[in-house]
Subunit: 326 residues, 3 copies
């Protein structure tokens, strides 16, 4: 994935990685420098990858990575060019190693590096309110407005003709032209992603960002979390009403209209020209097709094909819903 | 409707209006000055009105307006004193013309005219927190409190003995005596009203306001949108819990009690002495009678008569709901 | 209950209490000083207590209080050492008397006593953002971070290694070590508790607090109300996602995971190791056992035993839900 914002702390010596994983590789020939942690298909010779489920067997066979975090059970699928690093829990181990490469992507403490916009070069090109704060690595286009008490934390790019409301906080986001983000929104914080653990849950890094395409509008009090290993994405001319929650890794197509208090759980993919009524909820890892209409209050717990109207909890074809509820 | 806040940019020459609508009226006798755009029944000789549905036929026959935005199909219902302005889409055209009369009612960019309350006359009569900002055309009664970082944007009237929390933003609202609005609320922003359009949705103006009658309480994190062509209204002694969303044009009666995370969609009318349980949702353009009880989590998708208890999704009589779910 | 924060205005003379209740006790021997108002079992000789329902009969028989607010119908259950104070509505009367003992616990006007953190001793030990405000009776442990525009109002104790986001408001709360509270949260405000009354609802005091145990995380835009007569409690290592509402008196156990936009109504008790899916709602005064899983969108309206998986509205056993919705 593209990752313009999170600084990679690599290269990291393989012996340091092994130490974190509590692995002792007696036949290691060289203390190689590892550049990054990547998935099976995108990793190169100098990366470490991970393989945690049979369903990625075909990808595993072709990986170019020299090292792969995996299990005793799966290790034989890897090519001989790839050294298996055997662990008990692959995802927890991946989380630990990703934290080493991207230490800034684990915690979302407030950005302490921000300064008042009046002390930046933006003071002459942006129309801004009182107490507006700007972090590092921020760009803002022409003809933009930023309301009172709003904080543009680090790693944000805002296009031309954008209007950001008051009391809003944005970080790790790419915002295109003509986007409106209203008051009290939180955009780009890490998602609700962690490994449950009896004494202290283990947060995994979120190295994804939020991408909002041109002409979108985001209503008051909405929260849009950034992705963990991929990005959270909102397509062109999609409008969100107030108090909406978009979880990490969610993708929404173009020209969609989402009414108040809707929630979309992690990693779901919503098509273009979709209309979602107020308070509807979409489960995680669901695919909603193009030109779909979802009635207000619905609970969508399985994939919805293109050109369908659904309603209910669980959501079903709207004709069926109306017939069952006459 | 009463409209104390949005400045009318009129009069506007009829030829300028025709140009925007792409209409060439060859037999126009005079370049008349048009004062306002109003509905069929309230418009006068110097106004332009609009007529987009058969169901307003009787009102159309009696309109006093000299010009009416309408369709080829409907034009013959108008009196001879009213010149039809034939368009493809009446509501889109109304939106365009309303934007000319009320340019401030389309966008809700932050109010850049606010100043710190300590620089206003309110500094001696209001108990206020740090960083409180006050816009133009604001009045505040006796014995009021306004919390930290709260922004009273333009066009707000606050009665006596009101308590506004911190981090709250209010604009275009009339707030009566003894009202409490808690922290993190957004009151008076435009609603989620626009004409969908493939490349860029077309927002229509919201010239309505929010009216909150005396003794009301609004919980933390709630959003109350102002109306588009009418007002959003909350009757006396009605209490709203946290994280509630009230959409544009909604009217709520007196003595009603609305629990947390409820959402009421646009233009619905809720009676007096109504109780709505947590997370319930009311569809748009619905009428809920007086003395109605709506169970928590319900989804109300049709009118509810007076003195009824309902629950479920879709909401039905509570006896029926309990019987069906034994 | 433990009550470290709300100052007790007592002792108050029994004749002053009687006057407020409109009671004339002709045979009162002495104008006793009453220390506090407490429940039947914890009150002592110098307290006033209350007894409003048959189900507390056994406790009533053993109360040590010298005076008890109750009804004509219930008074004979009290021991002879306890003088009954007969009223029409016990809870309204309790509310009035509690307001006299704890006047600060009725209203939640903004805390006007806060000062900028840079003017406090915390300036050298806390990493803080711009415009951070600190009230009276606040303690903050080692290695804490507090984001921009955040307000720690009066009566808050924060442990070590805590990270508080930006635009958040906290009051009347005990927060343990290693807790994260993200942006835009409101923690410790009074709950939605009042006696409905035709012309003006009567708010009752909230003398409870919010207790958040170590290693918890609270997501953006969440609201956690403090308790009325008991505390609102969140156990160790429990994680809340964004836009969650926790009402007054709610108790949540350890190691629980609650997804976005969930709402838990007043006085419900949630066990440990509980998982609640997005947008689920839990009615008030409900008991959810340990190791329970509640599907997203569910509406829980009755007690759920330990080790159960439920889904639906109303929530039922998940096997039943899936079978009924095939």
């Amino acid at each position: 994935m593209s990752n313009p914002f999170f600084k990679n702390n690599g290269p990291i010596l393989i012996l340091d990685i092994l130490k974190i994983l509590n692995i002792n590789l007696t036949d290691l020939e060289e203390n190689a420098k590892i550049n990054d942690i990547k998935d099976l298909s995108t990793s190169n010779e100098l990366d470490v990858t991970f393989f945690h489920s049979q369903k990625y067997k075909e990808l595993a066979k072709k990986t170019k990575a020299s090292f792969c975090i995996t299990t005793e059970f799966l290790k034989n699928e890897l090519p001989t060019s790839c050294v298996p690093l055997i662990v008990e829990n692959v995802l927890v181990s991946v989380s630990k190693i990703t934290s080493i490469f991207y230490p800034d992507a684990v915690n979302d403490d407030f950005d302490n590096s921000v300064i008042n916009i009046s002390e930046t070069d933006f003071k002459d090109k942006v129309i801004y309110g009182k107490n507006v704060l700007i972090g590092k690595n921020v760009s803002i286009g022409k003809n933009c407005k930023i309301g009172h008490n709003t904080i543009i934390e680090k790693n944000v790019s805002i296009g031309n003709n954008c209007s950001i409301g008051s009391n809003t906080i944005i970080r790790n986001s790419l915002i295109s032209n003509n986007v409106k983000i209203l008051d009290n929104c939180i955009v780009g914080k890490h998602g609700f992603g962690f490994f449950p653990n009896k004494t202290k849950n283990l947060r995994y890094p979120h190295i994804g960002i939020v991408i909002i395409e041109e002409n979108c509008e985001i209503g008051c009090g909405s929260t849009i979390d950034r992705g963990s290993m991929s990005n959270t994405f909102i397509g062109k001319n999609t409008y969100l009403d107030n108090q909406i929650h978009i979880a990490h890794n969610v993708k929404i197509g173009e020209n969609s209209i989402i009414a108040g208090q809707v929630g979309i759980a992690g990693s779901s993919i919503i098509g273009s020209n979709v209309r979602i009524g107020g308070q509807a909820g979409i489960s995680g890892h669901i695919k909603v097709g193009n030109n779909v209409e979802i009635g207000g209050g619905s609970g969508v717990i399985k994939n919805i094909p293109d050109n369908t109207k659904v309603m209910g909890y669980p959501a079903k074809n709207i004709r069926e819903f109306l017939r069952d509820n006459k």
